[in-house]
Structures are given as structure tokens and as C-alpha cells.
């Protein structure tokens, strides 16, 4: 699954269910223009189309549903704050939202790590607690390993393998050349492999 094309709207990516008739079928360019004018229905439509994808992306980064839902909403608030500086140049709006989601997630993780250190624990402790809650999840090893990757590597893995995006699309989201994304992909897979072997070996 790559990006939606400019006019491939109406895919129910999230609520609210209604949008102004003129915007439900609007392409990204029109939607961005209306959103820049602080049109409420435009933002409702953007949220409807992309909230679920943003939520899924954030979920893979943080591993908690409620946190992911909160952060997903934060992504749109941040998008609103910077929409005036955003110029639509053909790159899908979702790419921009993923970029914001990346920054929001990084900020969240930093804050969580600082808070954990302030309370005497560490980020590792948080992971351990989270993993304890996910003990029944057969795939927690993989999720934990992914969250041990660098921020860029995590982004590549999630977009490439969970959002099923092509390298070209991932490159658009990350603002990097495709070659750089491929290199990140290789390093990410090598790191994941090593982390999984270490964890399973230790267990």
C-alpha cells in the first residue's frame, strides 16, 4: 500500500463521518488550501482520511493504544499549528502527517525517558513494564526490538513493512533520497536480527 493518489479520497481513515460535500472528494491540494484557511470541515476531512493511519504509525512506535490515540490527535494539532508554513508541492499530505507523527513520537519518548529517570527508573524500566503487560503477546519481542532501533530506522521499518509503503514513498516522508532509505532499511534489519538473537539467546 502506497500513498493515496491526490483524488483518492473518501477512504474512511477515521472519524468524523461527515465532511462538507465539497471536500469529501477533494484532492490534497484543495484540502490543504482549505485547511490553511482554518476551515473546520477541511480539518474534519483530513482527520477522517488519515487519523487511522497516523494512529497505526504511532502505535507501532509507542506500543500502547491509548497513548497512540492521544498522540495521533496531537499530530493533527501540530499540523494545524504549522499549516501556514506548509506548501503543497505534490507530495501527499499523509507524508507530511507521518513526518509530524515521527517528531511527536520522538518528543513523547524523550519526555517519557526523562520522566522515568526523574523518578529513579530508566527507559529500560518502562519497556520492561510495558513488556510485562504484553507478556502474552507472542510478538512483543519484535515490537520491543523495533523500539530499540534508531528513530530513523524505526520510521523506515514501520512505513515500509507495516504501512506497506514503497521505498520511494518512504523517501518522500523522510525527506531523504531513496538510496539513504535503502541503507537505513538494511541497517535496521541487521540490527533487528541481532537484537532478536541476543534476546532469544539470553532467554
Amino acid at each position: 500500500m502506497g500513498f493515496e493518489t491526490d483524488n483518492q479520497a473518501g477512504q474512511d481513515a477515521g472519524p468524523p463521518p461527515h465532511g462538507r460535500a465539497g471536500l469529501t472528494g477533494a484532492g490534497d491540494a484543495d484540502l490543504v488550501e482549505a485547511a490553511r484557511g482554518l476551515d473546520e470541515t477541511a480539518w474534519a476531512e483530513i482527520y477522517r482520511r488519515h487519523a487511522r493511519q497516523v494512529y497505526a504509525y504511532v502505535y507501532y512506535r509507542v506500543g500502547d493504544q491509548h497513548t497512540a490515540e492521544d498522540l495521533a490527535a496531537d499530530v493533527f494539532v501540530k499540523a494545524l499549528a504549522s499549516i501556514r508554513g506548509y506548501a503543497y508541492r505534490g507530495t501527499p499530505l499523509l507524508a507530511w502527517l507521518y513526518r509530524i507523527a515521527h517528531n511527536v513520537t520522538v518528543d513523547y519518548r524523550r519526555t517519557a525517558a526523562k520522566r522515568a529517570q526523574h523518578h529513579g527508573g530508566g527507559p529500560v524500566e518502562i519497556e520492561d513494564r510495558r513488556d510485562a503487560l504484553q507478556a502474552l503477546d507472542d510478538h512483543s519481542d519484535m515490537m520491543r526490538a523495533i523500539r530499540c532501533l534508531t528513530e530513523d530506522q524505526q520510521q523506515v521499518v514501520i512505513l515500509r513493512f507495516y504501512q506497506q509503503m514503497s521505498n520511494a514513498d518512504v523517501a518522500k516522508v523522510m525527506g531523504k533520497p531513496e538510496g539513504a532509505v535503502k541503507a537505513l532499511q538494511t541497517r535496521a534489519l541487521r540490527s533487528l536480527r541481532r537484537l532478536l538473537v541476543e534476546r532469544r539467546g539470553a532467554a
Binding site: 468524523p16 494512529y55 490515540e69 492521544d70 507495516y162 536480527r193 532478536l196
Partner: protein
């Protein structure tokens, strides 16, 4: 970045082949040199993709749109505020401009006071010799009325000036059923409480500081939308301690900063507007306005919404005092005039 034909490219091609359903053995056979390095990485890819999708986002994610919507309204109010003369300046710049006026004024006052004190001291010391010394009365006045900063205009028009603090409850109370405002209606539907559905007194009016219970007690269970224009108004003595939601229609007979006088069938009302007030139209003397808001003591009305009909046009008060919908064909509040008063986010 990797050069063309590098291991990164081979791995990428192998991943694409894996996605197309090709068996691992044939992929490895196609790249015999890199097979050993590829095998564990393709295995990792298979493991990554076997992780189940995240739990389906539920109603909570839908409800979270209220945060976004509140931010949109806040930004709109802020942008409207930015169009005012001094709205573009930061708070410290406004303070500085105030200080630049007040410092010379203060210095002049100090000189006058010092002179007066010296004169008084002289008068006292020479009292036996000079009876009937002159006493100077020094008065200081404000440059503007009502504490308005320079550059603010009476003809302010804001729209959608909601703040996050008001949240969804405000919108449910004032916008539910507003024709043409589908986004708001849909979000209102997402956030609607049972109280709103039934119209019971439990509906929150969104008025800061007024609890639903207080609203119900003071207004006998009537909401803003159910108090018709021209209803009897509690007198100052009969007005309960808290504000009472109400609506008045009348003629704008005077505009002073953020207040204006509304002459309705039951007398003159002093109407206050603020950054959260939704104003449709331009508040000018001679125009007809329907004001919805909170009645406080002494015929004061704190407006949450003002619908203005320009002078000469036919007034169309909101039916039952309820908030009318936005103009058709456009979202609410996109027609603004400069000089609106907005709150910074």
C-alpha cells in the same frame, strides 16, 4: 547512501520479490553471492510482517477530533486577533508601548507632586505669614475608555473564537442542529451526551464557571436555546448570584470598546464581548443584533454569540434564541473584519 548495485539494492529487490510471493529459496538462488547475508534479513522481514496489526482505533480516536477542532477555532480567533492593529505585537511589545507612555506621565506626575509638596511645605512653614496658600489638585485620567488599548476598534468581528478550554461541551450547547455546519454537527454527534439528546438540564452550556446544576436551578431547566428573545428578564435584585443564560434582540445604540448597548423591548442592556464571543456581522450603532449569552446582575449580558443585522436590513432573530448556522456555502466565521479581539493560543 549506497551505490547502485550495492547490497542495499539487492536486499530491497529481494524484499520486493518476497512481497510478490516468491519463495525464499528462489530469491536466494537469484543472488548466490549475497545469499548468506540475505537469508537472516529476509527471515527478519518475515517476522516483522507477521506481527498483527494494531488494535482497531475506536470511538476514543473519533472523540479526539474535538481537540483538533478546538485548536482550529482557537487558531481562527488568534488569527482574527492578529488582524487588529496591536494584535501582531507580542505581549511584551504592548507592555513596552504602555510603559513608553506611562513613564513620562509618571515622571511629570512626580514633578508636579514634588512641586506641590514643596509648595505645601513652604506654605506650612510660612503659614503665619501667608494665609490662604493655593492648593493644586492634580488629576490623572485614562487615555481610553474601558481599558482598551490603542488601536482597538469598536467594530470588532470575531468568529469561531472557541478555546480548548471550552471544548466539545460548548459546541454541543451552541451548535447542535446548526444548519450547514456539518463538521460541527458530526463532531457534536460524536460528543453528544445523553443530557444533550434529551434536552434535560444536565446539558453543559459551556459557560465558564457555571455548572450544569447551577444552570438548571437558575433558569428553571431552560437552556440558552430555549429562552426566546423578549422573555422577561430577572431584575437585578431578583437575579441569582450566578449568571443566567438568556437572549435579547434589539438595536445597538452605542459601542464602547468591548461593550455595546443593546436597546431591547425591556430596556437598555450592556453587552460584553470577549475572545470567545462568536460574532456574525459587524457591531455598529444602528444595527440590530440578537445576543445570546449570560445575564449577570444589573442588565449586563455577557455575550457568547452576537448575530448582527446591518442597519436598514431586516432583522432575523434566531428562532427561539438558538444559534443560527453559518452562512451556506462556507464554513462559519471566514468572513471577518480587522480589529477583532482574539486570545493568543
Amino acid at each position: 547512501m549506497s551505490p547502485p548495485g550495492s547490497f542495499d539494492d539487492v536486499l530491497d529487490a529481494a524484499i520486493d520479490a518476497l512481497r510478490r510471493g516468491e519463495p525464499v529459496s528462489s530469491i536466494l538462488a537469484a543472488h548466490p553471492k549475497e545469499a548468506d547475508a540475505l537469508r537472516p534479513l529476509l527471515q527478519a522481514v518475515a517476522e516483522i510482517e507477521s506481527v498483527p496489526p494494531p488494535p482497531e482505533a475506536g470511538e476514543r480516536l473519533a472523540a479526539k477530533f474535538s481537540t483538533v477542532r478546538a485548536s482550529v477555532r482557537n487558531a481562527r480567533a488568534s488569527r482574527a486577533g492578529g488582524q487588529r492593529g496591536d494584535g501582531r505585537r507580542a505581549w511584551w511589545q504592548r507592555r513596552l508601548s504602555f510603559a513608553s507612555l506611562s513613564v513620562p506621565a509618571g515622571a511629570a506626575a512626580a514633578v508636579l507632586l514634588a512641586g506641590a509638596a514643596a509648595a505645601a511645605a513652604g506654605a506650612i512653614s510660612q503659614a503665619p505669614d501667608l494665609p490662604g496658600s493655593i492648593v493644586h489638585v492634580v488629576t490623572f485620567g485614562h487615555a481610553g475608555e474601558g481599558g482598551e488599548s490603542p488601536g482597538s476598534s469598536a467594530t470588532t468581528t470575531t468568529a469561531g473564537g472557541g478555546t480548548p478550554a471550552h471544548g466539545a461541551a460548548t459546541d454541543v450547547a451552541t451548535r447542535t442542529g446548526a444548519p450547514g455546519d456539518e463538521a460541527s454537527a458530526s463532531v457534536a454527534a460524536l460528543n453528544r451526551t445523553p443530557g444533550t439528546e434529551t434536552g434535560t438540564p444536565a446539558v453543559d452550556t459551556g459557560t465558564p464557571g457555571v455548572t450544569p446544576a447551577a444552570t438548571a436551578t437558575s433558569s428553571g431547566g431552560l437552556q440558552t436555546a430555549t429562552i426566546a428573545a423578549g422573555d422577561p428578564v430577572p431584575t437585578a435584585s431578583a437575579t441569582p448570584p450566578g449568571p443566567v443564560p438568556g437572549s435579547r434582540t434589539g438595536l445597538i445604540s452605542g459601542v464602547h470598546g468591548n461593550t455595546f448597548t443593546l436597546t431591547s423591548s425591556d430596556g437598555d442592556w450592556k453587552v460584553n464581548i470577549d475572545a470567545n464571543t462568536v460574532v456574525n456581522g459587524t457591531i455598529v450603532e444602528g444595527a440590530t443584533a440578537t445576543v445570546t449569552g449570560d445575564i449577570t446582575a444589573g442588565k449586563n449580558l455577557h455575550a457568547t454569540r452576537v448575530d448582527v443585522t446591518p442597519p436598514g436590513a431586516t432583522a432575523t432573530p434566531a428562532p427561539g434564541g438558538s444559534a443560527p448556522g453559518p452562512p451556506p456555502g462556507g464554513p462559519p466565521g471566514l468572513t471577518r473584519t480587522p480589529g477583532s479581539r482574539g486570545r493568543r493560543p
